[in-house]
């Protein structure tokens, strides 16, 4: 307990300690930042349209490589996870999926961290993986 307090924000943020919920906490922030960075890049990329066909084609060539396709597949995965987990968080914040309020008894398991929420996180990760595979299939015309 004493050690927990000394760790401060690092202890709270440790993804290895609090199970899949803390992993989801990190993934939500990392995917959010990744998607914002992609969005800014996408706006810049599409602005090359205004410089004519040659500029558009040369910009497009950057994404028409294996690395470009892998990057886009990652963007698809980030988008699907962020959406799935975001919907879970909205539902949770509305107060659904926690069960009934009860007296906090030992071992003080938080009712918010239940199987329903854990399942939603795993489903979001699974859907993200499937979407990435589908996206790669579309990009490679499989």
């Amino acid at each position: 307990m004493e050690k927990d307090r000394k760790e401060g924000i690092r202890g709270m943020a440790n993804p290895g300690r609090y199970g899949i919920e803390r992993v989801a906490y990190w993934l939500m922030r990392i995917t959010g930042l990744g998607l914002l960075a992609y969005f800014i890049g996408h706006i810049y990329e599409t602005s090359s349209l205004l410089d004519g066909k040659a500029a558009w084609n040369s910009m497009l060539e950057l994404t028409q490589t294996t690395e470009g396709h892998i990057f886009l597949a990652l963007v698809i995965g980030m988008c699907v996870f962020h959406t799935g987990n975001g919907i879970r968080l909205m539902i949770a914040e509305a107060g659904f999926g926690f069960g009934k309020a009860r007296r906090p008894d030992y071992p003080y398991t938080p009712s918010s961290l239940n199987m329903k929420n854990k399942l939603c996180i795993y489903v979001s990760i699974g859907l993200a993986a499937l979407a990435m595979m589908y996206g790669l299939g579309v990009m490679y015309d499989v």
Binding site: I9, R29, G32, L33, L35, L36, F39, I40, I43, Y44, T46, S47, L49, L50, G52, K53, W56, N57, L60, C79, T83, G86, M90, E93, V138, M139, D141
Partner: protein
């Protein structure tokens, strides 16, 4: 922003922009996939997409919704890391300014391409 608006209202906007943006992103992706992914990215096809007014409106709406959601998300992450009146104001107004710049830059592309100024 927090001094202008209550955080609970900002979170409602955050969730609402997310849900509506998901709908528009699905339309955006469906348009690309239905035209054939590679063909849909040809210069003439992209310009034709922009010249379709309903689709240009979808793009503009998506630009605004995702910018508001994205930069508010960034603000929330940055406010989790550190607190303090000066820092919070700097983060809030910095994100607001970046959001306005991005919307203006993206809108310029949408307006010029849809009006054929390419």
């Amino acid at each position: 922003m927090s001094s202008i608006m209550r955080e609970s209202h900002i979170m409602k906007i955050h969730y609402l922009t997310a849900l509506v943006a998901v709908g528009f992103v699905i339309i955006h992706i469906m348009v690309r996939v239905m035209q054939g992914f590679s063909d849909s990215l040809l210069f003439d096809n992209v310009i034709a997409n922009y010249k379709s007014i309903p689709y240009a409106i979808v793009l503009e709406a998506m630009l605004i919704l995702i910018s508001v959601h994205g930069f508010n998300g960034l603000r929330i992450i940055l406010l989790e890391i550190k607190q303090g009146r000066v820092y919070e104001n700097a983060v809030t107004y910095g994100c607001l300014a970046a959001m306005i710049v991005l919307i203006a830059y993206g809108s310029r592309t949408i307006i010029m391409a849809s009006m054929g100024m390419v």
